[in-house]
Symmetry: D2
Subunit: 342 residues, 4 copies
C-alpha cells in the first residue's frame, strides 16, 4: 500500500470541492482524479486543480488500479450504487452523510466492506470539530456527571431539498454528535425514535421534532426546521453535575460549561418533595477550542483508517446507526409520532 492514500473524488458540486481541497492538502492523502457529470463544474475543478485529472464518468475512477480510495460527494440516492462499485473494485470508500437512504442498503455496504476488508467511512464532519471534541472530553472525563438529556435546535431559513425532508437534511448532524458523545463515549444505546413534522410548502416536511429514547432515563430531542427567521444551532448536554451549552452560531465562546446542578437528598421516587431539592449555580467556563478545520481532521482520519487500520468515529457502523435512526424517524412521521424501536 502506498505511503500516501491516492484518492478519486466523485462529485464536484457543493461539497466535493471541500473534500478535494482537504485531501489535496495532505499530509497522507493525494487527490489523483475528480469525476463530475456537469461540464461547467468540470471546468471549475480543472481550473482550480490543474494538476488533477478531471473526468466525466465515475467509471474511470473505479477502474483505475492506481486509485486506493474513492470519496463520494453526489446526491444521496446515488450513494449506494457508487459505494458498492467502489468496494467491489477493492477501494476504500468515503461517503457523504447520510450513508444511504435506507438501512438495508447501509447494512449491505457495511457487510460488503467487511468482506472486502476495505474501509467504509461516512463524512460526518461535525465529530471532527473542536467543539464536539471538547464536549466529548467533558462527557468522557465524568466532569458533567450522569447525562440527563441532549437537546438540539438546528433551524434557519434554509435551502429546501428536493429529494428528502428536513430530517434527512439536518438531523444527521445532531444524531451523529449525539451518537459520538453518548453512544460511542458512554456506551449508552438509543432504544427508540419518534418524530412529528409538518410540510407547509410541498411534499417533504420542512419542520420536525425528533425524539430519541435511551436507557437510563436519558432523552434526546432535535428540532430541525427550514423555515425559521433566526439561524439557531444550540445544543444542550445536561449532566447532573455540570451542563454544556454549545451555540454554534456564536462568533465568540461557542461552548460554555455551567456549574449548575440540582441535588436531591433522598432519591426516593415515591416521596421526593420539592423541599429535598437544592440548586447550585456556579462559574461558567468557555474552554478554548481547537480551531483546526474539521474536514482536515476527517480527511486524515480516513487516511489513518485506510493506511493503518485505525479506528474512526464515523465508521460504517456509525453510518448504519445514523441511517437506522433516520429511517425510524421517517416511519414515526408516517405513524403520527409513534415510538419506533431501533
Amino acid at each position: 500500500m502506498s505511503a500516501s492514500l491516492r484518492i478519486g473524488v466523485i462529485g464536484y458540486g457543493y461539497w466535493g470541492p471541500n473534500l478535494v481541497r482537504n485531501f489535496a492538502a495532505g499530509p497522507r492523502t493525494k487527490v489523483v482524479a475528480i469525476a463530475e457529470q456537469n461540464p461547467n463544474r468540470r471546468q471549475v475543478a480543472q481550473a482550480q486543480f490543474p494538476y488533477i485529472k478531471v473526468v466525466d464518468d465515475a467509471a474511470a475512477i473505479l477502474a483505475d488500479p492506481d486509485i486506493d480510495a474513492i470519496a463520494v460527494a453526489t446526491p444521496i440516492f446515488t450513494h449506494y450504487e457508487l459505494a458498492k462499485r467502489g468496494l467491489e473494485a477493492g477501494k476504500h470508500v468515503l461517503v457523504e452523510k447520510p450513508l444511504t437512504p435506507s438501512v438495508a442498503q447501509a447494512e449491505e455496504l457495511a457487510s460488503l466492506a467487511a468482506a472486502k476488508k476495505r474501509v467504509l467511512m461516512v463524512d460526518h464532519t461535525f465529530v471532527y470539530t473542536g467543539a464536539v471534541r471538547k464536549i466529548r472530553d467533558l462527557v468522557a472525563s465524568g466532569e458533567l456527571g450522569r447525562i440527563l438529556y441532549f437537546d438540539s435546535v438546528r433551524i434557519n431559513l434554509g435551502l429546501f431539498q428536493p429529494d428528502f425532508n428536513v430530517i434527512w437534511d439536518l438531523a444527521p448532524h445532531d444524531l451523529t454528535i449525539m451518537d459520538f458523545v453518548l453512544s460511542q463515549t458512554l456506551g449508552t444505546q438509543a432504544k427508540w425514535v419518534s418524530a412529528i413534522g409538518v410540510s407547509h410548502y410541498g411534499r417533504h416536511e420542512n419542520l420536525a421534532y425528533v425524539t430519541v429514547g435511551f436507557d437510563d432515563e436519558l432523552l434526546a430531542h432535535v428540532h430541525v426546521n427550514w423555515v425559521a427567521p433566526v439561524k439557531t444551532r444550540r445544543t444542550i448536554i445536561a449532566g447532573n453535575k455540570k451542563m454544556v451549552v454549545w451555540d454554534d452560531t456564536s462568533p465568540v465562546e461557542p461552548v460554555k460549561v455551567y456549574e449548575s446542578s440540582v441535588d436531591v437528598q433522598h432519591i426516593d421516587k415515591d416521596t421526593a418533595y420539592a423541599l429535598n431539592v437544592q440548586y447550585r449555580s456556579g462559574d461558567v467556563n468557555s474552554p478554548k477550542l481547537d480551531g483546526k478545520e474539521a474536514l482536515a481532521g476527517m480527511a486524515q482520519t480516513f487516511a489513518a483508517a485506510c493506511l493503518d487500520g485505525a479506528a474512526s468515529p464515523s465508521d460504517a457502523a456509525v453510518g448504519v446507526r445514523i441511517v437506522r435512526m433516520l429511517e425510524a424517524a421517517q416511519k414515526s412521521l408516517e405513524q403520527q409520532g409513534a415510538r419506533i424501536k431501533l
Copy 2:
C-alpha cells in the same frame, strides 16, 4: 352592584401579594379582605396593608355579603373547592392558573358560573403583557400571513414543584399564549396533544416536550424544563409573510418581527421542487411595547367582566381549554407520546 369591585383575596403566599397590590391600586377594584392560613404570612399581609382585614379562614370571606368577588391564589388542588364555594355564595371568582387539576372539575365550575350568572376567570397573566398583545395584533392584522407554527422554549434551573410535573407548572403559560394568539384571534382550534417527558429526580417529570396539532397544517411545540443551565423563554410565531421571535429574557428589544419568508411558485404538493422555492429576507423590526404591568391589566379586565359584563381573554372557556390540553398532555405522557384528541 357597587361602582368599585369589592374583592377578597384567598391565599397570601407567593402570588397573592401581587394580586392584592394590583387590586388595591384600582381604579375599579378594592381589596376588603385577605384570608391566609399561615400566621407569619398573615402578619406580613397586615403590615403591608394595615387597612385591609386579614383573616385565617376563607369561610369568613365567602360568608361576607359585602364582598363581590374572590381571588383564589392557593395551591392548585384547592382551586376547585374554593371556586365552587365562591360561586355558590354568589361571588365572581378569579382563580390562579391553571384553573383546576382536571377537566371534569374545570367544566363543572364553568357550568356553575354560567348558572349563577357570575364571572369565572383565570389569571393567565401573560395574555395581558405588552409583548403578547403586540404579537396578537400582528397576527390579527394579517401582517404575518398564514401562521405556520408556534414554537416555544421555557427552560431554566427552576424550582421543582411537589404537587405536579413541569408541564402543569410551566406549559400553561405557553398554551395560553398560543390559545390567545391562534385560537382566540384566528379561530383555529387545537385538535390533538402529544407529550414526551422524563423524570430525573423524583416522581414528576422535570423535562417535557408538548406538541399541539391544529387544523390547517399548523403545529405548536413547547419545551418546558426545570433542569436547564440557561434561562430561556423564546417563542417563534412563524407566518408565511413575516415571522416573530419573542425573547422574554432579553432586557432590550424582546419582540422582533422578521421580514423573512419562503415563497413557493407552484404549490403542487406532488411536484414542488426546491428550484421553485424562493427566499426573502428583509428588515427586522422591534416594535415598542406597552410597558404597563400585565397584572394591572388583568385586574381591571376582571373588574370590567364583573361590573360591565365585558369579555375577557382568560375567561372560563379559556381556562377549561387550557386544562383540557394539560390533561391530554398528561395522558399522552403515560401513553408514550400517543396523540390525544381534544
Copy 3:
C-alpha cells in the same frame, strides 16, 4: 456607644428610601428618624415605615442626642452644609455621592471629621457589589498581571440633571470603581485628568470623555453620555496576563475573565518589532458573583466604621479623591481638554 447604630436619614426623594430600607433591615443599624421637606414624600415615608419618626426639618435630627449618625440623601449642593452641621453636632455622617461640589468643601469636611473623631463616609455603592469585589480580588491576587488600562462606557438615554453635567452625574461610579480596584488595591495613584465634552441641549454637557493618567503607563478612560440609544455599562480592566470585561447590563454572566494576553519577547522599547509579539487566547471564565444587595453591604460597613472603627473603601479620603478628579475634569472641560494635575 449603643450596640446598634441609631440613624437619622435626611432626604426621602429618589435614593433616601433605599437607605432607610437597608438601614432598617439591620443587623447593626436602626433608623429612628427621617427628615424630608416635601409633604407628599413625608406621607409616603410614614406609610412605609409607620414606626419611624418623620419630620420636616433636618434640624430636629441634628439636635436629637439619641441619634448617632446621619445619612444625607439630598441634592449635591446641600451636602456640605448638612454634613458640616452633622459633624459639628458630634454625629457620624454618610453622604450620597459625590461628597460635595468642590474639593475645598470636601477637604474641609474630611478635616472636620478627623478633628471631631467622627466617621465621614460616602455612599459609593458600586464598591460594595459582588462584581466589583470579584474584580478587586482578581487584581489583588495578581491573576491579571500588571494592569494596562481601565476603560469604561456608561451611556444610555438618561435623565438630564438640572444642577450639573453628565460627568458629575455618572462618572463618580467609574472613578470610584477605578479608585477601588487600582489605587486602593495596587497603590497606584492617579496623576492627571483630562476631559472633553459637548452640550447639545442646554448649559450642561450631556456627553463627555474623561481620561485619567496613572503612573506606570496605566491609563483610564470613561465615556459618559445621557443621549445614547442603547444602555451600555461595560468596563474592561486589562492586565498583561488576563483581562476582565464587566457588562453590568447583562442578565447573565456579567463578569468574564479572558485568558488573553500579548507577550513580547524582548522588551526593548526602541527595537521591539511585530515579529517579537505573541498572542495568547485561552479559556473564558465567568465567576459566580455574590448576589447580596450592595447597599446592605454599604450600610453595615458604615455601621462597622462607626461602631468598631473599621476601615471603609468609601471613606472620607476616597470621597475627597473622587471630588478632586471630578473638579479636575470640569476644569479640563473648560480648558479644551488640557491635562489637569491632581
Copy 4:
C-alpha cells in the same frame, strides 16, 4: 482609452490578492500584471492566476505602456514613491489606505494627479460596504435629524504593526467612515483633532483615544486598541431624531436604527432645566443591507473614475483629509492631547 481598465497590481502580500481577485472579476477591470519582491509570494500569485504576468519589480509595470492603472498594496512607507512614479508614468493610481505617512506627501501626490489629469484614489474599503452606505442614506435623508456625535470603538487582540502605532493602523477606518457620513454627506468639516494613547509593549502606542471636533457642537470619538480581550467594532451615530448603532461583529442585524430622542422644549442655553426635557423611545429597526462585497464596489468605482471621470467617495482629496487627521492625531499624542487645528 480601453473599454476595460488594464491594471498592474504592485504587492502581493496580505491585501494584494484581494485586489487582484476583485479586479480580475471585472466587469470593467482586468489585471495584466502583478509585481512582488518575495519569490514565495510570486509563486502563489502565479499558481492562483496562471494567465497573469508575475514580475519581481514594479518598474516593469510602471514601464508597460499597455497598463492603464496601478494598484499599490505595499507597506505604507513605499506608497509615496510608487504612486509618484505611477502618476509620472501617466497611469491612474489606487493606493492602499492610508495614502501616505505625511500630509506633505499626500498633497504632493494629489497635485501631481491633478496636473497629470490622472485618477488618484485610496482603497478606503469601508465606504463601499452595505452598512456604511445605509448609514449614509439615513444621514442624507434627514431621518436621523441633526447629528450630535459619532462614537466608534475598534478594539481587539490585534496584530501589532512594526512601522506605526494603532492610530495609523485602525483609525483610518473610522475616520474615513466619519468623513463619508458627515463631511461628504452633510458638508460639516472637521476642525481639530486630539489624541491620547499609551504604549505598553514597545515604541508604538497600542491603545489610543482620538477625538475630532466639528462645527456645530458635533463631536467624534474613536477608541482604537490592539490589546482588548473582546473584538468590538461598534459605531454610534446619534441624531436628535433617531440614532444608529452599527455592530460590525454581529452576524445578524449589524445596523439598528433607534427611534430614540431627547426633546427640549425651550432651547435656551442659560435656563434649560431637566424638567423641560422629554425622552422618546420607539421601535428599533434593522434594515436589510446590500450584501455585495465592498471591494468589488471599490474596484468598479475606480474603473468608473478612470474610464468615465466619475466621482469617488475615496478620491485624492479624501485621502489627503484622512492623512491630515492622522498626522494631527500623532502630533497631539506628542503634545499630551492638545487640540491640533486642521
